[in-house]
Symmetry: C2
Subunit: 149 residues, 2 copies
């Protein structure tokens, strides 16, 4: 999907719910929805400033909450002590590789995991809902001694 379209989707969501389309909301949505990374709230605030916009921290949190609620953004917790957010792309389920040196996040998909987790859940009497897999390691750049980004 075109990144611009996704921002438009958020506008529609706001209009449909009779919520004001403020420039802060649009700016924050643009940063988050057009990024291909997993941004922390701090990242979002920094990106905003870098593009000449600004919004209070509370507004950033509140807008992200809206974006999550309407399904355009997904919340992630990698156990770093804060949350990260990524646009909900068409990828229905994917896993994460997390570089323990620079924090880079890489996504991948492996159908075997669906199968295995469903099976394991059943074995233990659980009705499987979803799963979360994070592989911790050192990315290619950090292995070759590149400076942490």
């Amino acid at each position: 999907m075109d990144p611009g379209d996704v921002v438009e989707r958020f506008r529609e969501y706001l209009r449909d719910h009779n919520l004001p389309v403020t420039h802060q909301r649009v700016d924050i949505a643009r940063v988050l929805l057009q990024s291909d990374r997993h941004l922390s709230v701090e990242d979002v605030t920094r990106e905003l400033r870098r593009s000449g916009h600004r919004a209070g921290l509370a507004t950033v949190y509140r807008t992200i909450e809206l974006l999550v609620k309407c399904g355009l953004v997904v919340e992630r917790d990698f156990g770093e002590g804060f949350k990260r957010f990524e646009p909900a792309r068409d990828i229905p389920q994917h896993e994460h590789l997390l570089c323990t040196t620079c924090g880079r996040v890489t996504e991948f998909r492996d159908e075997r995991l669906e199968r295995i987790t469903t099976l394991v859940a059943e074995t233990h009497g659980y009705l499987r809902q979803r799963h979360r897999l994070v592989i911790h390691g050192v990315c290619a750049a950090c292995r070759s001694g590149a400076p942490p980004s």
Copy 2:
């Protein structure tokens, strides 16, 4: 391994490192090492009080840090907003099933995951260190309409 032995191991660790064996440290270790659950700091504090002991919150945090450092306890983050800790039993690597209704945690092991994660990491240029898999679902008790524990 006998639970008592594990506490003895902690004593040895302290002695070997010329660290005082205080009753607080031993009490906290006993609670954490003899539990078969995944305890939060609050859980530990409550269990301490329940058994007639007490320790300042800071001491609990500091002792748990020691227990993690010496490898007798493992830290877990299930994205609940706080950490949980469990004794490092002989199970070298295991995964978790988390009941989204009652919070119950069940452990399991599946060697296929080692293989898959190592392979996937390599494919993306990462040097695999470890992984974390949590399957979210509804446990047998909650499925059969039992009251949440």
